[in-house]
C-alpha cells in the first residue's frame, strides 16, 4: 500500500472511507427515510462523497522540492 500510494496513504484511506460512507447514505439509507430527514441524508451523502474525493486528492499533493522526483521515493 505504501509503495503504491506513497507517504500520504492516510489521505487515501480516510477519503475512500468517507466517500463510500456518502455513497451508502445516498443509495442505501436515504431511500428508506421519508420527508426532510431523507433529503438531508441524500444531500449529506453527496457532500460526503465529494468531501471524500477532495481528501483523496490531497494525498497526491507534493511539496515543490519533491517535484519531478519519482512518486513514492522519499
Amino acid at each position: 500500500m505504501k509503495r503504491v500510494l506513497g507517504e500520504r496513504r492516510n489521505y487515501w484511506i480516510a477519503g475512500t472511507a468517507i466517500a463510500f460512507l456518502g455513497a451508502a447514505l445516498v443509495r442505501l439509507i436515504s431511500p428508506e427515510i421519508e420527508g426532510t430527514l431523507g433529503w438531508v441524508t441524500l444531500g449529506g451523502g453527496h457532500f460526503l462523497v465529494i468531501a471524500g474525493l477532495v481528501i483523496i486528492v490531497f494525498g497526491t499533493r507534493r511539496r515543490p522540492e519533491d517535484a519531478f522526483r519519482p512518486a513514492g521515493e522519499t
Binding site: V4, R27, H46, G52, L53, R61, A67, F68, A71
Partner: protein
C-alpha cells in the same frame, strides 16, 4: 423499341420530383450541406474525423431515396424507427448499415467505445497535479449545461428534451449522444448533429471568446512549471478505480460512461501496449467514423422539417457559449484564489471537448507570450470537465428518465 423512361433509370431523381415540394427542397438543401461539410472537413475548417463521413452520409442518403413499393419510398441505408422484432429482422437483412445502428448506436455502445478511447488518450495525472483548481474550473464550465435547461423549459421544451439539449453545453459529443438516447430518443439525431456541428465550430469560435474576455497581459501569464509533481501510476489507477466505483454507486444510469472512461485511463496507466494501441487506434477511430457516418445517414429531410430543430440550434449555441463564458469566469476565480499566478485562459479548457479546448488555451497563451506554457493545467481542467459532465448527465438522467 420500348420508350425509355429516364426517371425510372434515375430513381433518386424520380422520387425527388414526386415528393412534396418542401421535402424535395429539404433533400436538395441537405445534399448541398453534406457536400459543404465534406469540403470544410477536408479543408480543416471543421473537424474532419466527423465531418467527412457525416457530410458524405448526409448527401448520399438524401440522394439515394428509391421506391420501395408502389406507395412507399425509402433508402437501403437504415430504418431508425424499426422496433418490432419481425420488422427489425427484415431491416437487418435489407439495410446495409442497420446492423451497426441496431447493435452499436441505438444502445449507446458507440458512445461508450469513444469514451474508452478518450480514457486511453487522457492522462489523469494532469488533473491530479492541481485537482482543486481543475475541479473549480470544470464546475464553472458547466454553466451552459445548467443554465440552458431552464431556458429550454421556458421556451416550451419538455423537461427531458430540455436536459438533452442542455448537455450540448458539456461540449462532449458522445455524452450528448448517450444522454439524448436515454432522455429524448425522438430528438437524439438532431441534438447529436447540433452537438457535433457546434463542437467543430468551437475550435474556431472559442479563441475569439478568450480574446474578448481575457486581456493580452493575462493571456500571456507565465506559470510556474518547476513545481509540477510527478503522480505515480499507482495513484492514478487507485484514483480512477475509487472515483469510477463511487460515481457508479451514485449515478448507476451513467455507469457505462464512467466505466468506459476510467477503464481507458487504467489501461493507459497499466502500460499494456496492445490494448492501448487497439483502443486508442482502431476502436476510437472506427467508432468515430461510424458515428459520423450514421449521424449523416440519419439526417434525412424529414428530420430537419421538425420545427424543434431551429430551437435546438439556438439552444445548442447558447449552451456552448455559456459554458465557454463560465469556464473563463472559473479561470478568473482561480486566478484570484492563487494570488494572480494562474493563467485565466485555462478556464476555457474546463469545457470538456478533450483535447480541443486545452489546445485552444495553449495556443492563445502562446500567441500572447511565447514563453507561456499552460498545457498541463489545461489538460487537467479538460479531464475534470469530462468527469463533471458525466456527473451532470447522471443527475439529469436519474431525475428525468
Amino acid at each position: 423499341m420500348p420508350e425509355i423512361e429516364f426517371l425510372q433509370i434515375f430513381q433518386g431523381l424520380a422520387t425527388l420530383l414526386a415528393a412534396e415540394p418542401v421535402i424535395a427542397l429539404a433533400r436538395v438543401a441537405l445534399i448541398c450541406l453534406g457536400i459543404a461539410f465534406v469540403y470544410l472537413g477536408v479543408k480543416g475548417t471543421l473537424e474532419p474525423l466527423i465531418m467527412i463521413p457525416m457530410g458524405f452520409g448526409m448527401s448520399s442518403v438524401n440522394a439515394g431515396v428509391l421506391a420501395l413499393s408502389a406507395t412507399k419510398t425509402g433508402t437501403l441505408f437504415l430504418d431508425p424507427i424499426a422496433s418490432d422484432p419481425a420488422q427489425l429482422m427484415d431491416a437487418l437483412q435489407i439495410n446495409f448499415l442497420q446492423p451497426i445502428y441496431t447493435f452499436s448506436f441505438s444502445n449507446g455502445l458507440i458512445a461508450v467505445l469513444i469514451f474508452f478511447g478518450i480514457g486511453v488518450l487522457s492522462d489523469i495525472g494532469y488533473m491530479l497535479i492541481s485537482p482543486m483548481r481543475c475541479m473549480i474550473i470544470a464546475i464553472f464550465a458547466e454553466l451552459g449545461t445548467v443554465l440552458t435547461f431552464p431556458i429550454a423549459v421556458a421556451l416550451g421544451l419538455p423537461l427531458n428534451e430540455a436536459a438533452a439539449i442542455a448537455m450540448v453545453g458539456s461540449a462532449d459529443a458522445p455524452m450528448v449522444l448517450y444522454t439524448s438516447l436515454l432522455l429524448a430518443r425522438d430528438l437524439f439525431v438532431p441534438i447529436t448533429i447540433v452537438a457535433y456541428l457546434y463542437l467543430s465550430l468551437a475550435y474556431a469560435g472559442y479563441p475569439y471568446l478568450v480574446r474578448l474576455m481575457v486581456p493580452k497581459r493575462l493571456r500571456g501569464l507565465v506559470m510556474e512549471t518547476k513545481s509540477i509533481p510527478n503522480i505515480s501510476k499507482g495513484e492514478k489507477i487507485t484514483f480512477a478505480v475509487i472515483t469510477s466505483t463511487l460515481l457508479s454507486f451514485l449515478f448507476p444510469v451513467a455507469s457505462p460512461l464512467f466505466m468506459g472512461f476510467f477503464l481507458g485511463i487504467i489501461i493507459r496507466e497499466s502500460g499494456v501496449k496492445p490494448f492501448i494501441e487497439f483502443i486508442g487506434g482502431p476502436v476510437l477511430y472506427g467508432a468515430t467514423f461510424f458515428l459520423g457516418l450514421l449521424l449523416g445517414v440519419l439526417f434525412e429531410a424529414s428530420t430537419i422539417l421538425d420545427p424543434k430543430v431551429i430551437l435546438l440550434l439556438i439552444l445548442g449555441i447558447t449552451a456552448l457559449l455559456l459554458s465557454g463564458i463560465g469556464g473563463i469566469i472559473g479561470g478568473y476565480v482561480v486566478y484570484w484564489m492563487s494570488g494572480k499566478t494562474f493563467n485565466p485562459v485555462i478556464g476555457i479548457a474546463g469545457v470538456s471537448c478533450l483535447p480541443t479546448t486545452a489546445k485552444v488555451a495553449q495556443k492563445e497563451a502562446r500567441a500572447a507570450n511565447k514563453f507561456a506554457i499552460i498545457l498541463p493545467w489545461a489538460m487537467g481542467a479538460s479531464v475534470s470537465g469530462v468527469i463533471t459532465s458525466a456527473i451532470i448527465a447522471g443527475i439529469y438522467v436519474s431525475l428525468l428518465r
